[in-house]
Symmetry: C2
Subunit: 314 residues, 2 copies
Amino acid sequence: MEHPDLELTLFGPHQQVIAELSRLPQPLAAATSRLVVSDAPLSIAQTSSAAWALRHGQTSSMACMLRSLKDGEAAAGVSAGNTAALVALSRRSLGTLPGVSRPAISTAIPARHGRRCYLLDLGANVDSPAHRLVDFAVMGAAMAQCVDEVALPKVALLNVGAEATKGSASVREADRLLREYPDASAFAYQGYAEGGDLFDGGLDVVVCDGFVGNAVLKASEGLTRMLVERVQMAFESRLSGRLASLLAKPVLRYLKQELNPVRYNGASLLGLQGIVVKSHGGTQAEGFYYAIQRALSEVEHNLPARMAARWQRR
Amino acid sequence: MEHPDLELTLFGPHQQVIAELSRLPQPLAAATSRLVVSDAPLSIAQTSSAAWALRHGQTSSMACMLRSLKDGEAAAGVSAGNTAALVALSRRSLGTLPGVSRPAISTAIPARHGRRCYLLDLGANVDSPAHRLVDFAVMGAAMAQCVDEVALPKVALLNVGAEATKGSASVREADRLLREYPDASAFAYQGYAEGGDLFDGGLDVVVCDGFVGNAVLKASEGLTRMLVERVQMAFESRLSGRLASLLAKPVLRYLKQELNPVRYNGASLLGLQGIVVKSHGGTQAEGFYYAIQRALSEVEHNLPARMAARWQRR
């Protein structure tokens, strides 16, 4: 059993959660001693707006989870629910760090040579002005420093080209602000990056507006699904015979996992006075596993407090 | 030989182009009878701004190519040069279609089940207002109708979620305009799409601001490069022995081609009074081949004239 001292509280309709737990296979059922079930009658639908959640979501599993976090009963919260509702409820319940106006969402994109790159924002903010893009840079860099122990994270700003004349007004203004950023120990600013640089392993943090980050992340997931299908079809149509399929099967099994790099990482809500991780919406147990791992590692590294220090320093 | 009646004019520094042609292997050298070399002393660097190209680029290969297109000597132009310069010079040299304020860049993204989806804009326009997003929809749909003979193209607007409350102000306004679009034979509007829907094969056209489209396209290219590397490494580390590598090699060769779906399609400049196709910048002969194919098929289908009819009809 990993993390034997981990305790988990499950928020949801009591009867339903208990019924689900009772269906677990035997070896897992033994682990339920570390689970506590906390009744929360309401769930927020994926189609609900953030405004609806703020108005009517007080008894939802999400709001109950955030309350236990706020009250210090839990050290971190994980949810696979409606992202907009999670951002809005987290912000109201926990509050943002002093100096941060709005939380951002970030995930670690796997890159070449076993490296990773934090991409943010992934959709909590659209039409981000320049100063907010700078906030994203500070938050992403703090994450890389605290959790991944990168001494001076390499931060870049996503743009449509490397030339200074390109891009939207807010991106060009953010570039100027990042070049003049007063705290030289926060990050090493690398200038503009293009979409392809995300996966090259040369950057620790890439910053963009939430609309762009969301589109890039979801397109990457969709492309990966298609490519995995193509790999499988190539094997099936080109390698016939028992020997071939015997040889191919283990590679194929390995590849299916390996080629799904953006799917299972939890996405962190950054800039809050507390630790909240969004697990992938379409996910099963594995997605929750990675989201809980991410939350644990943020707890171990005391991320919110160390991130708060960044805003005090400048 | 494909397209035996195709004639190609190469624009560039005369001596240099002739020297390159003389180095072609024998079977290709025979085909040079269909090539004409037209001297253009200047080339526009990838780092030059569009403004620089407009001011100083008159003798560039790009401007010379566009002049021959304008004068009716060529039916279509292909370039692998600086995209911003190509858009700016094309717009000045050829002019846009009546009703279109700025050209857009579009490419066919390969999707599931052997289908394709036109994505636009890819970077000619950043911070696109709602009416320009509507122009993109009309242009993309005209492309799918004329070139791919899709009777009523399914058009969607890229957003951060399917809910009506989400997205930037310009995207929500464009959604309203597209729902009310007067010409019902132009396209079937499907509402919002997310990044992952691009590759699913259910849409013919996806519309977004050029900043977003550029980031999505370049990230897809970068991700593909990384995944191809991983497939190769998985084979090399998991299948040892001669028999295994014998079996794996043809699959791997096939996959390398198959897994590079976004790389080789030419990108069309739409909304111009002429046909201009951008070949991939980092490309060799194969990229030019596909860009020329794309240009030929736009010539055959008389794309600009049929696209112009769309604006007259509404």
